[in-house]
């Protein structure tokens, strides 16, 4: 079992490196603009005040956590970083159980003396390891950037930590739902198009939810479950949404497990 885990992790090496660097560097770069922006805070706030509140909400801005404040700016940046985090996790979800059939290596792996149960677990753990490394890179980049660019602001790190700790559930949501979709359909021709649609698509749903302040739409998108601005203002996670995320994750993983165990692997 260890051999599959290490093999799969080896296959993800490049991916881990690229995603960790991409997410942490872009987060860091965005945050680097904060000092310049906060210097003109008055002008910026005045400008934004001209826009309707719904439009600002669509962009992820809240009047009670202005963009000119450090945490307001961080909330925006983090919200943007959620998109690549989602795409990466969805990518692994769609990829891990479907790759063998797409690249025709299923006959090799599944004819070995190992149960599918162990294959799923090994592959899932390899993906989870990879996601955790990217998660850790995001934590480090966020904390370092906040400390470096805070200027005169005083940061309450408790809430920031709470925001960062939602990454793991957020990633698990995308990876597990991706897995479930990948084993529910006959074949995934292109993983990246599936993960892009899922990552961006749910973000757009989130945008509409904010634009129309639609409470029902919120249930359909994990971006609404873990809104950084909301967490930074209230200092707590929404119990219903968090619970819903956990249920969806456990449900998707269980069904993926059952379906993959029963799946017929066809020849060409």
């Amino acid at each position: 079992m260890m051999n599959i885990y290490l093999f799969e992790l080896g296959m993800l090496k490049r991916s881990i490196l690229i995603w960790s660097l991409a997410v942490s560097l872009s987060l860091f770069l965005y945050m680097a603009f904060f000092p310049a922006m906060s210097a003109n805070a008055g002008a910026m706030d005045a400008l934004l005040a001209n826009y309707p509140e719904e439009f600002l909400a669509f962009l992820g801005m809240r009047p009670d956590l202005p963009m000119s404040s450090l945490l307001g700016y961080f909330a925006l940046t983090f919200g943007m970083m959620q998109i690549p985090l989602a795409i990466q996790a969805a990518n692994y979800g769609f990829h891990m159980l479907s790759v063998e059939e797409r690249e025709m290596t299923a006959d090799f792996l599944l004819s070995k003396p190992i149960s599918r149960k162990k294959i799923i677990i090994s592959k899932f753990l390899a993906s989870l390891t990879s996601l955790t490394i990217v998660n850790a890179a995001t934590w480090i980049a966020s904390i370092v950037a906040l400390l470096m660019f805070k200027g005169d602001s005083v940061i309450e790190f408790g809430n920031v930590i709470l925001v960062l700790s939602t990454i793991v559930l957020f990633q698990l949501f995308f990876v597990s739902v991706g897995m479930l979709i990948s084993v529910s359909i006959r074949k995934i021709a292109s993983v990246i198009s599936f993960s892009m649609v899922m990552g961006f698509g749910l973000y757009i749903v989130y945008g509409f939810k904010s634009l129309f302040s639609n409470k029902i739409l919120a249930y359909f998108t994990p971006y609404a479950y873990f809104e950084p601005a909301e967490i930074l203002i209230t200092g707590k996670l929404d119990l219903v949404f968090t619970l819903l995320a956990v249920i969806i994750i456990i449900g998707s993983l269980s069904f993926s497990y059952l379906l993959y165990n029963k799946r017929n692997i066809h020849s060409l």
Partner: protein, 290 residues
């Protein structure tokens, strides 16, 4: 003892039949041929033995154990060579073989070296740079490296040149001498005849006949096509001739028996052309059903 026991194994893909009521045994130490045209259900049957697909009903035992319920245990003893070979492209051959070996309890490195020398396989090349025939060789080494007690070969010879094919056959015969049971699926009758002790013939998902290869050789039909002039005189209507079609300038028929009889008849004729060939599998099948 039986190496493989099929018990009424049936697989339907929705309403489409994959195979139906497969019910035969392969004895330990046997080389058993499994022949039928493409799409007859050979691969479906084989994939069920490896739990790549799950049967609709029935079961298959391998060395006395249910191969579907206890698949991961059963597969310890199986070496499998799929008909189409695909591996992780970016890997080197040796890394793939080592990964393959890591699934088995014992050390296979000596065997990897030995087999790749026999098959003349370069271990340090990347898989994506290999030709089809060379990929096939990787498959062969990969299927044999753990010295399995049961070898399942699904159309193994396509893409191998005749020399390599012979080496491969020798390898299989050697494994068999050491005690390995072999299930050899093919749509080429001659290679099955060369290697196998018994054959099962599958058509449209059903086993239609199980034969001793000796008996099958006895049934060795030849297909004659003769061209010339004034041929429609009924001289070929002798014992052992079937499917006789006579025209003035062309005669075709199948013949089973002492070929000297035919040669004697032909010797007296003025011919422009003669073709003597193995009947195709489809033509053999025709004989089984008429």
């Amino acid at each position: 003892m039986n190496a493989i026991e099929f018990n009424h194994l049936t697989k339907f893909y929705g309403k489409v039949k994959g195979c139906e009521d497969i019910n035969f045994n392969v004895k330990e130490g046997e080389i058993f041929g499994f022949i039928g045209p493409n799409g007859a259900g050979k691969s479906t049957t084989i994939r069920t033995m490896l739990s790549l697909i799950y049967p609709t009903s029935g079961s298959v035992n391998i060395f006395g154990q249910d191969a579907i319920k206890y698949g991961s245990v059963a597969r310890k003893d199986i070496g499998y060579l799929p008909s189409e070979i695909f591996y992780y492209d970016k890997m080197k051959v040796i890394d793939l073989l080592n990964y393959s070996a890591s699934f088995y309890d014992h050390d296979c490195s000596a065997r990897i070296k030995e087999l790749s020398e026999i098959m003349e396989l370069d271990l340090n090349r990347k898989i994506q740079d290999l030709s089809y025939g060379n990929k096939k060789k990787v498959g062969i080494v990969q299927g044999l490296l753990h010295s399995p007690k049961l070898l399942i070969l699904d159309e193994p010879t396509s893409g191998l040149d005749p020399l390599m094919q012979q080496k491969f056959f020798n390898l299989i015969a050697e494994e068999n001498k050491k005690g390995a049971t072999v299930l050899f699926s093919s749509h080429i009758l001659s290679e099955v005849q060369q290697l196998c002790h018994r054959v099962a013939i599958i058509k449209d998902g059903n086993i239609v006949s199980i034969q001793d290869v000796k008996a099958l050789k006895h049934d060795n039909y030849k297909k004659f096509t003769i061209r010339g002039v004034n041929l429609d005189h009924g001289k070929f209507e002798i014992e052992g001739v079937s499917e006789l079609k006579e025209r003035e300038d062309k005669v075709t028929f199948f013949f089973k028996g002492d070929v000297n009889q035919i040669v004697k008849i032909i010797a007296k004729l003025e011919l422009t052309d003669i073709i003597i060939e193995e009947p195709t599998l489809e033509e053999i099948f025709m004989h089984y059903y008429e």
